[in-house]
Symmetry: C2
Subunit: 514 residues, 2 copies
């Protein structure tokens, strides 16, 4: 089958988001070279591809976020993005001039409208962030179809919104839409694909794979008539599981590494991380260290060994006692008889971080961080200790969600030991320690965190929903005062619509709510 037209995603020549590489004129030229190379291949096929381009006008930002249509070896049409997202992880207004000029073009016997990602997200001017709708302007030229080139990142809440807005666009304008989304992870940002072909009546003609590249060919006449209807199943923990697998896989691929190292404590976070890593990289590429101290329970070590054996991953047991004692002896002349406190807990966590990093350096493994979102939120972790790592796998998954994810992983057979799931969480950094000694129950904690982090609710709004006043104030203060730790933490694989990282930017010294 010979296709007439092939469509790539937004900024496909340079990857999304290129961030401040866009400020290098040389980088823009290199991106454009890709367009010109591709043009040479367009002799008998139309090619739509996204690239940053230089704004030739003296007024306005230096660049446009553009889409090229190539055919017969030449650039036939250029469309510039009109609606520039500048919220959460998006900073397009930092670089790009929004276009206000929208034209369709003729290709063979069809008139085509090209839109870029956000351009379709102000249907009926319902989005207060924008005051026009590019497609409204193009409809006067009566296009036969719309191509949308996207780089729309994954969050588990977002996949169905996306399908709805595409269908609503197709229905309103009465033309088919080919929505082509990027697939692959760029460090913390995971692009989930799930490209959509919508028929003129607003029905979903086809929805492509999530988290996997896929090339599919469609007969436009058939799409126009409508009918074949396929939607991907979207289940929260299945989506999160697959997103994290892709996130790990692409991080290693793009950083040019093959193997991971993980510190396995016997707890649920490191267990889930180990499963994800071995599913992403292959069990022979995952190495784990068990680093028990005098405070580690025998149960924890046994659970960790059981997991490693089930997964078929290599493990080593390196007790940290002798190093810990050498530190304590070295520090004794200065600490004298001061009581043990968080200092000594941190030393243990940091010895583990150091041993893991030593393996990382010596054997070219990447250390995966196992912190969850609840811990990351309240600062329940040691900077330069358990907060070490190349990428944080679970730091956008609340503790209560980590349990759900563990159950999802165990849905067909027990991969994560039941005891790991059932026992009360503990950092095991002092005798008899439990998370519940210093943190509220995770079911309560996570609800408050969600209100504050995802919903941007202030203390009174959260208290008015029935939460205990002192508890809410304590939790919010913990979140704010942990900002200095998050600032130096690894990038976080983003699976929700409000993840720690570039989508959430808070002052380290902000004394709001103190």
């Amino acid at each position: 089958m010979h296709a007439d037209l092939i469509c790539f995603s937004e900024l496909a020549t340079c990857g999304y988001p290129p961030i401040d590489f866009l400020e290098f004129r040389d980088f823009i030229h290199k991106s454009m070279e890709v367009v010109y190379e591709l043009a040479k291949e367009s002799i008998d096929i139309g090619i739509a591809i996204g690239s940053p381009t230089i704004n030739p006008n003296t007024e306005g930002k230096d660049l446009y976020n553009s889409a090229f249509f190539l055919y017969k070896g030449k650039v036939q049409h250029i469309a510039h993005k009109g609606l520039l997202p500048n919220y959460d992880i998006f900073d397009e207004y930092r670089y790009f001039e929004p276009s206000s000029d929208f034209k369709t073009f003729q290709f063979k016997n069809k008139r085509i409208a090209i839109t870029i990602c956000e351009d379709i997200w102000n249907l009926d001017n319902e989005n207060p962030m924008y005051n026009f709708c590019p497609m409204d302007k193009m409809m006067v030229e009566q296009p036969d179809l719309m191509l949308n080139l996207s780089a729309s990142p994954f969050s588990f809440e977002h996949t169905s919104d996306r399908l709805s807005i595409i269908r609503a666009n197709a229905k309103k304008y009465g033309i088919p839409i080919f929505y082509v989304n990027c697939v692959g992870a760029q460090t913390d940002i995971i692009f989930d694909g799930g490209s959509v072909v919508a028929s003129s009546d607003g029905s979903c003609y086809d929805e492509l794979n999530y988290f996997e590249e896929e090339i599919k060919c469609y007969d436009l006449d058939k799409v126009c008539i409508g009918k074949p209807h396929f939607e991907q199943v979207k289940e929260k923990y299945d989506l999160i599981y697959r997103a994290l697998i892709l996130g790990i896989k692409d991080y290693f691929h793009k950083m040019n590494f093959t193997s991971a190292i993980i510190g396995l404590s016997g707890g649920i976070d490191s267990a889930v991380t180990a499963v994800l890593a071995s599913d992403a990289l292959g069990s022979n590429n995952v190495h784990v260290l068990l680093m028990p101290s005098e405070y580690s329970s025998t149960g924890s070590v046994a659970d960790a060994i059981e997991l490693a054996n089930t997964l078929g991953i290599h493990h080593e047991i390196i007790p940290i006692q002798s190093i810990f004692e050498t530190y304590l002896n070295t520090l004794k002349p200065y600490f004298k008889d001061l009581p043990a406190n968080v200092t000594e807990e941190n030393i243990q966590a940091r010895i583990r971080g150091m041993l893991l990093m030593s393996f990382s350096n010596k054997f070219k493994y990447i250390l995966l961080n196992t912190t969850n979102k609840s811990e990351m939120a309240v600062g329940y972790g040691t900077l330069y200790g358990d907060l070490c790592g190349g990428i944080a796998v679970l730091a956008d998954v609340y503790k209560t969600e980590v349990y759900e994810l563990a159950n999802y992983i165990n849905r067909q057979s027990v991969r994560i030991p039941i005891n790991t799931i059932l026992k009360p969480p503990s950092a095991e950094l002092k005798a008899g320690q439990k998370d519940s000694d210093s943190l509220p129950d995770y079911a309560i904690l996570d609800k408050v965190l969600y209100q504050y982090i995802e919903q941007h609710k202030g203390p009174n709004e959260i208290i008015n929903q029935g939460a205990d006043k002192n508890l809410v104030l304590k939790i919010l203060k913990m979140v704010n005062s942990a900002e200095f730790k998050r600032f130096q933490s690894p990038p976080v694989l983003r699976v929700s619509y409000k993840s720690f990282g570039s989508g959430r930017r808070l002052p380290i010294e902000g004394n709001y709510l103190y």
Copy 2:
């Protein structure tokens, strides 16, 4: 003397930049409470103050960056910022709707125009980022003076630009300008003050202190006539020195800490950091650890002790050999006979980081990071080792500039040992190691880094200026591949116009120039 009017700076009710706290409606209400409280004090004095406010329109961003004029207990006038910076460290378009409506107001027998910071930076429409000039619109109402409320951050190159643009505005519009800038550091961003009163003829009537709060009262009639002319001296290393002092001071103040700890190697970076810390916090609040290994030269230890004695700061000497050997013994069964490499170097750096953090935890000291900009650029530092710290004092100062700063510090008497300045730089992590073994000469390196980081030049542009091709490519690749380290590094006190941190955002995985 009773003043008729007092003027505060931009967003003074909440501090600048509040970043994503602006997304909390509760935060906006709390900021507005400050305005209403202040209004009560405005019975017989006019008060101009900046605050975020809610945009009442359904279209557009949720907020305005506003200035209030309060008098007789009430809000008399509100001005919204029209030109919103969205580059480098600025993200105002993330939160604020730009205003297009500009009005003056009457106060006593004068007509006043209020502008906010960036509003005066598109004089004669010369700035391509903006397509109008707020003051042009207000001039039809013939104001008698302009108040500008600013939060303009320091960079050593920026102070004279600022004075020029204020004078050019005064001259063009023929009215006096009272330019009120914020003073104080917000973690990495240092606001340098240097408020300006310009006369109607464009001359500088007065320029206030840099890096210090100052309240001064002016007679408007005299300012209109012009004459008294005072400009602050602006010398690069004096500015940088004072900026860093303020940066350290405010970081400790706002984080509610009083004492610092620093690892003193005998090298120039830690020596300059120790001087800055003791000048900022007082020598009794600075504690230093000397942590020699078998690779430390006796000269280094002697230089460090000499510095500590000169500054009158407390020092402890803690050799790291026994901890290092315990690590090596612990790792021996796994590393076997693999040759020593960067792994063992990193272990030493991390032991030092861990000891410093132990003192930090036990005694509530903040660890100051001593990395310079050249090292930070090329990744010549150990993550979780010498890259530890609450704030990086010198990471926006190139190595060649650190030497200049040391000479500035020594200008009246030798505070930093001459030997520290003269000896070749070395990390002393293996026998006979020198920085020049793995890095080009700093004079060459810093020039290339400046072209790439500050000037956004691509490799060919840098090579065309006469630099060695292979060297340039090697350096740029080092910069790009160190992004993962910078991501997890402490906030960097910003003194140049392109500092590592929120003003420079690059992908960790970007393979541009690989």
